[in-house]
């Protein structure tokens, strides 16, 4: 009786192939890691250099911020002291509201004072229109018209008053004559000083618009 033989197949290991495979994979991984690492190192070096530079600059700028804050505080204190009266004058020149009653009183007072000093001037009519915004909406306009019976000299004084209005020295309300119509009675002409002229004036007064946070 023949013995049964069992064939055992021993897998033959190809060590050289494995070595080659390992070498190739190792080289590929190594090269890829080197390339990746090179660029990442560049990025990291740049980031670290920027971080270091930024921290240095931040320290310098922080100290400079303290200096410039002190300088600004000093500048503002000096400004407030120097221009306190002027700042208040701005509110008289360009008030925050139309405030036409105060303007009426001012005009009435000026004409009466002028009439007392140098007769004669008489304001026979004063009419305020509705305020409107200017084209750029930077300020508001209060149009009004008036009629004067006045001598040539007092007319010139009134016109000079409107031309000098808005001065921060006297905080007078800012006015601007937009149109004038002068009628000369009889045939005396403009040069007659004592004749009463009938003058129709159209003027503008101005006031500030309210600034909101959204604007």
């Amino acid at each position: 009786m023949a013995l049964k033989t069992k064939k055992i197949v021993i897998p033959r290991k190809n060590y050289q192939r494995q070595i080659r495979t390992y070498v190739v994979v190792t080289v590929v991984i190594g090269v890829a890691a080197l390339i990746y690492g090179f660029f990442q190192f560049q990025d990291l070096s740049t980031a670290r250099a920027a971080l270091e530079d930024g921290q240095t600059r931040l320290s310098e700028m922080t100290s400079f911020e303290a200096q410039i804050a002190d300088q600004y505080a000093t500048l503002k204190t000096a400004f407030d002291q120097d221009f306190e009266n002027v700042r208040n004058a701005v509110d008289g020149v360009l008030p925050s509201e139309e405030n036409y009653t105060a303007l009426t009183k001012t005009l009435d007072d000026f004409v009466l004072t002028l009439n007392r000093q140098s007769p004669s001037i008489f304001m026979s009519n004063l009419k305020f229109s509705q305020p409107r915004m200017d084209a750029d909406e930077e300020y508001a306009i209060l149009p009004f018209s008036m009629t004067l019976s006045t001598t040539r000299a007092n007319l010139e004084r009134f016109l000079q008053y409107t031309e000098n209005s808005g001065s921060l020295d006297d905080a007078s309300r800012l006015l601007d004559v937009r149109s004038i119509t002068i009628n000369f009675p009889g045939e005396t002409g403009l040069g007659q000083e004592q004749e009463l002229l009938t003058v129709s004036l159209s003027l503008n007064a101005y006031f500030q618009t309210q600034q909101t946070e959204e604007q």
């Binding site: 890691a33 990746y36 670290r48 920027a50 500048l75 020149v93």
Partner: protein, 517 residues
């Protein structure tokens, strides 16, 4: 080999002495023990005889028998051919020989197993080389595997390290380099925003000073130009101080507003990539937000003081400076030295042209700030000098009628007088109404002279009157009414070559004056 040596040794051994009648045949019992093996060649240990040789009945050795020695192997012919006298002993000896041979063979087998065969080793050597090669390859494989593992671990480790340092989101070990860089950049922008805020607020303060002083300068120079009496010394002193301060303020404003409001940073991977325009806008927005934060801080109080309201105005005006390219352009291009020279020139000459140029320059700076003071200055700059216009009309009229304003037109019946003026600022239009009286009936000529004189004046343009009429007699005099339309001549119109109403060149013809074509 060893066996042959043993044989030779037997031959050299001296023969033992033999008695009379004794068998002379060579007997194995008389053989001398083999010589000891030479030390150079390993020899097996001498085999001891299993049984001592039996003494023969007839033969007695003269000498006591030698010690039993191992019997060397002999050929059977030699053994058989020598003696038949002792067959039993021979049989016995044969058995003994068999045992000896067996021992020798065993000895030989033992020797053979210990010695390497000469030809049989070749396959063993190839196998050994293959195994050695396999072992070598295994070693190399293990080395390569080790290198692979090291490289792989190094690659993974370095990748993890770079990821942990550069990832915008990885913070397992705390903020990494990228996140810290982002934080530093944000802090830099924050500090830069605060610096910008203080700079712009300081610039607005300087602009406010500039507004006040420039307004004061124009007011006082205007008063000086109008011949203000009694205060000329004080006015001149104020004007001189203003002329010194304004260029310095202009320089300060330029210094505050010129620096770039954007801080240069190296963008981290955690930050969005922006264009320079977007970065500029971001800086402007940051600045506005910083100012708004200050504004909210002030308006938190229910009751605002006057100081609070002024601070609010300052902040509001400052916000208008942010991103104001017109102002930046004007301020950067302005020359403080030239400005100072212009101020001094005007302060000394008080010429209206210089005043207009200065007012326009100041307005270009202040109007772009859009502050309340700038608004005042702008409105004031646009005012019309009505008294000056009226004086200008009178002066022009006097060039045509020297007696104008003397009140002689009525009494002498010769001259010009006005019945009405109408000025409209909205379109710069002026309407002059009046009457001419002559005794020579040349009223039309007088009116035409007035039109030409007005046109030639630098204050007026587009003088127009197309219809003429007159009435009267030589006895009572002639009267002609006129209504002349004209425009105020503006700066823009002056820069252009404005056409005149009448061409200056005329050709005399038989029918009168004909306008040239």
């Amino acid at each position: 080999m060893a066996e042959s040596e043993n044989i030779q040794g037997n031959q050299q051994t001296p023969a033992p002495s033999v008695e009379k009648g004794a068998d002379l045949s060579v007997k194995p019992q008389t053989t001398t023990p083999p010589a000891p093996a030479t030390p150079t060649t390993p020899t097996p240990a001498p085999v001891q005889p299993t049984t001592p040789p039996a003494p023969a009945a007839t033969i007695k050795p003269a000498t006591p028998p030698a010690q039993p020695m191992p019997k060397p192997a002999e050929t059977p012919q030699k053994e058989g051919g020598i003696s038949f006298s002792n067959i039993f002993n021979k049989q016995k000896s044969k058995r003994q020989d068999t045992k000896v041979l067996t021992g020798i063979l065993k000895k030989k087998d033992t020797t053979e197993t210990k010695l390497k065969p000469i030809l049989g080793d070749a396959p063993v050597l190839q196998k050994t080389i293959a195994e050695e090669r396999t072992i070598k390859l295994k070693k190399q494989l293990r080395l390569v595997q080790s290198v692979f593992v090291i490289v792989f671990l190094a690659a993974v480790g370095s990748a993890f390290y770079f990821y942990s340092e550069l990832s915008p989101t990885f913070d397992l070990f705390g903020p990494n380099t990228t996140q810290r860089l982002k934080d530093v950049n944000e802090n830099l922008r924050g500090v830069q925003t605060q610096l910008n805020k203080y700079r712009y607020l300081a610039a607005q303060l300087d602009l406010n000073r500039f507004s006040f002083i420039s307004s004061d300068f124009l007011d006082k120079t205007g008063q000086l130009a109008n011949g203000a009496s009694g205060q000329s010394a004080a006015l001149s002193r104020s004007v001189g101080e203003a002329a010194q301060s304004l260029p310095i303020l202009l320089t300060n404003v330029r210094t505050q507003l010129s620096p770039n409001i954007v801080v240069d940073t190296t963008r981290s991977a955690a930050e969005e990539e922006l264009t320079p325009q977007q970065i500029q806008k971001q800086a402007e927005d940051d600045l506005r937000n910083a100012l708004l934060a200050d504004r909210r801080e002030i308006t938190k109080n229910a009751d605002l003081t006057i100081a609070n309201e002024q601070d609010l105005k300052l902040i509001d005006n400052t916000m208008k400076l942010v991103g104001n390219k017109n102002l930046l352009s004007t301020v950067r291009s302005a020359s403080s030295e030239q400005f100072e020279a212009d101020l001094n020139t005007y302060a000394s000459s008080l010429e209206s042209e210089s005043r207009k140029e200065l007012a326009a320059f100041m307005s270009s700076i202040l109007s772009s700030t859009k502050s309340d003071i700038a608004t005042i200055s702008t409105i004031k700059a646009n005012k019309i000098d009505w008294t000056g216009i009226m004086s200008g009309i009178e002066n022009v009229t006097r060039t045509v009628d020297p007696t104008f304003g003397a009140g002689l037109a009525q009494s002498l019946g010769d001259g010009i007088f006005y019945t009405g003026y109408s000025f409209d600022t909205s379109n710069n239009k002026i309407l002059l109404s009046g009457v001419t009286k002559t005794t020579t009936a040349d009223n039309f000529t007088l009116i035409s002279d007035l039109i030409e004189a007005l046109e030639l004046s630098s204050d007026f343009m587009d003088v127009d009157m197309r219809s003429f009429s007159k009435a009267g007699t030589f006895a009572a005099g002639f009267t002609s009414n006129f209504k002349i339309d004209l425009l105020l001549e503006t700066e823009d119109a002056k820069n252009q070559n404005a056409p005149v109403a009448l061409e200056p060149k005329t050709v005399a013809t038989a029918t009168g004056v004909q306008r040239s074509q």
